[in-house]
Symmetry: C2
């Protein structure tokens, strides 16, 4: 098994309000030297929550996504705050975005979005035994909540507004988990 | 259904060799005004290929991922070149990374990685009827190819090096598709 490349140097080449780009100078174990750029996360990663309203139904959010300038139908998610526990972050984001808390929270996986170019990690949390609880978030407009049956996952995948890889991966993983119970 | 926000202004706030950050000034339909940052893609998006070696086996790549500074086990992928057809890009990337061409290529989905912050799109292509064909890519070291059985997808998800959401979503989608045949 090959050794991973040695980092010869790293420097920040751009920094904006929320993004930071680093240049990484590497030497691969075969001697080849290359320079890559990657995005560095400022924070502690993110949580993506699969809120199970009942054994067959998840709660999706329909929210404006600036990157693609349209509404996206996906699982609720958000940044983990400084020193915040992963499961507590999941519970808080769920209260802010879908108006529920959960008595039962389970970390089921930690996903990357683009490991070649970003160090960002998203923790996937299954939320069960929900109870209504709404907290104020910092969203510019009310987020629309859409219940969706897990046995209609294939219909969801055909929906124009459902494209986000993390949500799709998480929904399949949870469906798999529930089937094996 | 709410109207999507109006773009009041957009300007590039940072540009590096491969990344471009844009500031977007928005007015939501409720009158709230916000400023967001998003990454703009320079290119034509990317392809992610699910190479089916036989009815039960996909070909994964184990490749150094600079964003997380470790090796990642995932599906082969790469950027679409200028004016290149999606399916031809998939075939080319597969020849470069796994040493096979495909007689049968099908676009099955187009995924986003982080639609709130990036406009990047990845087209998922199912590749069948493979034949050995190796082309030179621009990789700094040889990419390791690992066959993996689709009925061992759950074992793959437990692997430390398999974290990328697009690959996981694509593997589930393809398994679903094959089961329904």
């Amino acid at each position: 098994m090959v050794q991973k490349p040695q980092i010869l140097g790293a420097k920040t080449v751009a920094k904006t309000r929320i993004f930071q780009v680093e240049q990484l100078d590497l030497r691969f174990s075969n001697g080849v030297e290359v320079s890559y750029e990657r995005m560095r996360s400022s924070g502690n990663g993110a949580v993506l929550i699969v809120p199970l309203l009942d054994a067959e139904t998840v709660l999706l959010t329909r929210e404006y996504a600036a990157g693609v300038h349209r509404y996206e139908l996906a699982l609720p998610k958000g940044k983990i705050e400084t020193d915040e526990d992963i499961l507590l972050a999941a519970d808080r984001e769920m209260m802010e975005e879908v108006g529920y808390g959960a008595k039962n929270l389970t970390l089921i996986s930690s996903l990357t979005v683009s490991p070649g170019y970003m160090d960002h990690v998203t923790h996937v949390v299954l939320a069960e035994d929900l109870y209504p609880k709404k907290c104020e978030g910092d969203e510019p407009e009310e987020i629309e909540v859409m219940p969706w049956r897990l046995d209609q996952l294939n219909e969801l995948l055909l929906h124009d507004e459902c494209t986000e890889a993390r949500s799709i991966a998480a929904l399949f993983m949870v469906r798999e988990r529930l089937l094996s119970r």
